[in-house]
Each structure stands twice: as C-alpha cells, then as structure tokens.
Point group: C2
Chain length 140, copies 2
C-alpha cells in the first residue's frame, strides 16, 4: 500500500515537468495561455511538450488549483490564484495582469435572479476586463 491514500489529491507523480510548470505558474502574474506558458517553460530551458502542458493545466483547473478564463479570441487563459475561495477577476485586456476581487454581492444576485426564474443548480461566470493603470498610462 502507498503512504498516501489515493483519495482525491495525489494525482500527480512528482515529475520534472510537473514541477517546472508549477514553478512557472508561481511566477506568472498574468493570465496566460497554455501556449504562452509552454513558451515560457522552453525559454527557461525546460524540455516539455505542449501536450503535457495542456494536460496538466486541465487537471489543475479541474481541481481548482488554477483559474481558467476565456479571452475574446476563444483562447483559454490560466493563472494560479492567491485564494482558493471563490472569487472573480479584474483582468487587463492589454497585458493580462489581474486582480482578484471578492464578490459576495454578485453571488447573491446571481443566485437570486436565477431562482426567481425557476432555475436550479445555478452556476455563473463573471469576468471584468479593463485597462490596468500601467497599460492605461502607456496608451496616453
């Protein structure tokens, strides 16, 4: 038997690739696409396949260890977040940097309007985009 019950957490065998991806995610302040992340890994001299990056990100997102959003072009962007609690983001449209915001208010609003319409099993997505202070400055 193993030292860790296979319950729900121990899905990853500590491989070089997983660790490297983990490190990059820790460093990237902005929402980034799988391809960007892969490029960054290579830039750092890591040998890792794009497929592997996709597969890890998928699992991490499922487990809630990274957040995933879609940009307007349909690309999925990933980012490791500070809090594991439910939250939303204000993301810079130009550089991808994002700020986490808590939104009790929206959660309640969403739940309420959905219920009023007779919907159950309610879920929601809220994304806020804008120009961050730095990018706004550049544009002037």
């Amino acid at each position: 038997m193993s030292s860790q019950p296979p319950g729900r957490g121990t899905r990853v065998r500590g491989t070089r690739q997983a660790e490297a991806l983990n490190a990059v995610l820790g460093d990237l302040p902005a929402f980034s696409s799988a391809q960007d992340i892969h490029a960054e890994l290579r830039r750092r001299g890591q040998r890792i396949g794009l497929t592997t990056v996709y597969r890890h990100l998928q699992v991490l997102a499922e487990d809630g260890e990274v957040d995933a959003i879609r940009d307007q072009g349909g690309e999925t962007l990933y980012r490791r977040c500070e809090t594991s609690a439910h939250h939303h983001h204000v993301t810079c449209r130009a550089c991808g940097r994002s700020v986490e915001v808590e939104g009790r208010a929206v959660e309640h609003w969403a739940q309420r309007v959905a219920s009023e319409a007779g919907f159950v099993d309610v879920d929601h997505t809220v994304e806020i985009f804008g120009l961050c202070p730095d990018c706004a400055r550049e544009r002037r």
Copy 2:
C-alpha cells in the same frame, strides 16, 4: 434617395438568405450555435451556406442585434433578444433556453471594483447557467 439614411445601418442588401436567417432567429427561443441555426435553416428547406450564416451572425452580433455568448465547449451561441438595452441571461445548461435579466446591481458592482483597482475602460461579462424548470423536472 433611399427611405433610410445609409448612416450605419444599411449594410445588408435584402437577400433571400438574410431574410430566412432573420426569420429563424425570430423563432428560436434558445441560444443556438451557428451550426444549429444553419441546420434549422436547411430543415426549413432553405438553401444557404454555413459560411453565410457565420458571416451574418457576426455582423448582427457586432451591431448588437443579437447577443452572443460562449458555451463551455468554446462554441459561440447566438440569440435575438427582446430588449436592446444592456442585460444579462440566465441560460439553461441543458436546453439553451434563456431568460433575460436586468442587472443594474452587477453593472455598478463591476464598475466599482474595477475602479477601485485603478482599471479604466471597464467592460464585463456575466453569464448565469442553471437548469430551467422543464429540464430540472425531466432529470427527476
């Protein structure tokens, strides 16, 4: 001179296809993909290419005449809405049917938290998903 000033609206030359698409959009109560809409058009005996459907939907969405959202699979779904004013949707995850809801509250919230983070030129997306009464019943 034409009966309509060409300002910004007169982009479409009344073609059979445009009219047919328009009719279908008027009938479809649910958010539907371009492909679904195309299928529906064919079902109605219309000869129309998928490309044309995509192109029209694109323009209509730009002009705000239809709303476009993305489902979890990355497909874009379209729907003609009752109100032209800014609003959000509670959409059934199972059948696509949706209810329009007004969300002064969220608009303000989004604007506020973004401003507090120093972001400008703020925009947001809010989508609520759930099971509509009918689909919820079926599942039991």
